[in-house]
Symmetry: C2
Subunit: 418 residues, 2 copies
């Protein structure tokens, strides 16, 4: 049994848990996060959460995922938190941030209809079964904006809007709520993480199939023009229908400009944007704020390339799960000296045309570079030379290394199912 001494333990790695952990850490307190599921921040997909794991641990916070709490024992030394794995964490403070459930007792006592989770059922005017009683906020069932079925999403933004809608209707104005898309953002140590619409887990849960019903792109973009000081990379994941006509959702992790890009994307999704629409968005550019092609335009361009069949992206761990695949790293030797992938073939992009015969057309290559631009060019060269089984590793080496940082542990603790 491993015993960890710690001053505070946060149970649950969602919004509240991560914000608590960050703030306690900021006060100089040793923090341990315990999360029962295989990832922190359930609203983002697994590979995006891995970026958070890395940063949380780089900040010296312990993180135990796929591990629940068996018991709390109050001892003279502190609270002994016994985990399912057998580990024990000794803490002066334990914070439970394990989700919310509606406190709808008042509504139940009044005989109003509730859903199976206890959420109050309201119509689009936020009116309950009793036409003189309205309800709003985390306690009500809402329409999922993407799929148009019923869901519950406890977020301040929707609650605030619903409050005004209730007031409007009570005061005689006709006002309706148009559904919740789950737009959210949180600051986690050095990173900001944001999401809007459906994530891939939700698509799979609803029976949608990758490469048949939907696909995704993941890309690295700078928060603003690189020639103006302070630009920071962000990783964007965009989920969309195969024909690019529907955007299901997006997730972004980075140090700067993340909240802006998720709001641009969330606004576009609100209006039923297509992938093509993202390429046409006219976003304000000056070097301190963006690039001539904003990250959200770039997400549209990359997704458009996928829709047009110019490129296919691998998923983040495809080189690990598909044992027949070979990573083709088109970076220069100096870059390989810093970080290289075991078993990868290296041909720098500039030499690819003349060394293309070193590659085997019967093999599957996953092409990788630092960011994705050289890999895209390499992909196109291969495609034009008759290679048919090629994929582009998304978002480049930085994303690869971050998601493979503790890969043995990833393999052991986490199983990515979609």
């Amino acid at each position: 049994m491993q015993t960890v001494n710690s001053n505070a333990t946060v149970i649950g790695g969602g919004f509240i848990g991560l914000e608590m952990a960050e703030n306690l850490y900021g006060l100089g307190i040793d923090v341990t996060i315990v999360e029962a599921s295989n990832q922190v921040m359930a609203p983002v997909d697994y590979e995006m959460a891995l970026l958070l794991n890395e940063n949380i641990r780089d900040n010296g916070v312990k993180l135990f995922a796929t591990d629940g709490v068996d018991s709390f024992v109050d001892t003279s030394e502190g609270i002994k938190v016994k985990l399912s794995s057998g580990k024990t964490v000794l803490s002066e403070l334990v914070i439970l941030s394990i989700g919310v459930k509606p406190n709808s007792k008042l509504a139940a006592d009044a005989g109003l209809a509730l859903n199976e989770k206890g959420g109050i059922i309201v119509d689009s005017h936020m009116r309950t079964e009793d036409e003189s009683i309205y309800a709003a906020g985390d306690v009500v069932e809402v329409e999922d904006f993407i799929f148009k079925d019923k869901t519950m999403v406890p977020l301040a933004g929707p609650a605030n809007k619903q409050g005004r809608i209730v007031a409007d209707n009570i005061a005689g104005l006709d006002s309706t709520y148009t559904g919740t898309q789950g737009s959210s953002v949180v600051k986690v140590f050095d990173l900001n993480v944001a999401t809007t619409g459906a994530n891939e887990k939700a698509l799979v849960r609803r029976g949608l199939v990758r490469d048949k019903d939907y696909t995704s792109v993941i890309l690295t973009q700078n928060s603003h023009a690189g020639y103006y000081p302070g630009a920071k990379p962000m990783i964007i994941k965009l989920l969309f229908s195969i024909d690019g006509k529907k955007i299901y959702g997006g997730q972004i992790v980075g140090k700067d400009g993340v909240d802006k890009r998720i709001d641009i994307l969330g606004t576009a999704i609100r209006f039923g944007a297509t992938v093509k629409d993202l390429t046409n968005l006219e976003l304000a550019y000056a070097p301190p704020f963006s690039s001539g092609k904003d990250p959200i335009n770039m997400a549209g361009f990359v997704a458009e390339n996928v829709v047009n069949g110019l490129v296919k992206q691998a998923v983040w761990n495809e080189a690990d799960t598909d044992k027949e695949s070979v990573v083709l790293d088109v970076r220069e030797q100096a870059e390989l000296d810093v970080f290289a992938i075991d078993g990868a073939v290296n041909i720098p992009l500039g030499q690819l045309r003349k060394r293309i015969n070193e590659l085997d057309k019967n093999k599957k290559y996953i092409v990788l570079c630092a960011i994705g631009v050289r890999a895209y060019n390499a992909y196109r060269i291969l495609a034009q030379n008759g290679f048919e089984n090629i994929k582009l590793y998304p978002a480049g080496v930085r994303f690869y290394s971050s998601t493979h940082r503790n890969f043995e542990e990833v393999n052991e603790e986490f199983v990515c199912k979609y």
Copy 2:
């Protein structure tokens, strides 16, 4: 004749001029800006530009507006810049940033059609009259996204998109440009200023009439929740049709979060958003990034109140131009001690109901408070008590004081015509 000694003079107060002035100032150089029109930053309306004037001058930069250059004389002491007003500025460096015009000689020599400004005429595929020649960037005529007529807008974002569209078409993909809406942002000393869509000057130039064809709201909003450190106010101006079904454009000036809000608004406009749509946008909230009701939601709420007839906003100088109007300041005495408006009537909001008989129903009151919330409540109290000639002073005392900071000079130098 007034002579000013200065190390650098920037002629023209647009994007480039202001960026040059800021950077030279950052190097410790004394800067004078000379602008021939009555305001800096032509893409924003006059009252929004006044916010910039204040900040430029607070930073110690001299600004002469409504003043052109008569001549430059090279002397042993430097360049003597003689202005139309008779002023002379002596400078070691003079920068001309007086706008752009297309260099379309290559196209003209090839016999391609140009517009009257010399812009190359292209179709939606960016193809010139000669189907094997494409053109893109600042040199081409584009469609105005709001009004669907022809215009020229030199901006990097549209130019970048057009480049990809040209490449697509040359490579056999069918790709079209969908028009330019003039989204732009610039950092001017402590302020960021951004705009998207049409400004009020453009509406008036096209013959649209205030309160018949269009109206506007101006509001003050914080960049994020006030209870999280570092929130900064921004001033938002939103222009929309009387029925709220069309948003013509928006302008924002502030220290933080301006670029994000203009891009949310620009994206909404791209999809033909109504005022109501802005209230429904689900934007990501956490205290470091926004409020439960984002500034763009709030712009929608305030505009919706105008569309629904719950409130009318005054224009920024209505209390000055309408001599019959009376400013009703509903702030507390402690606030008046800091800043008060000559001739205003003061009744704190909490006393308004019992002191309402002190007011004259035949008079026009322009109601003002610090931000706009108390003034809105006061407006509603007055309206419900039979007052018919009421307006709300937009964006509160901060906006009033900034736009009236050098009001004598404003009156003298600048004439606001719309």
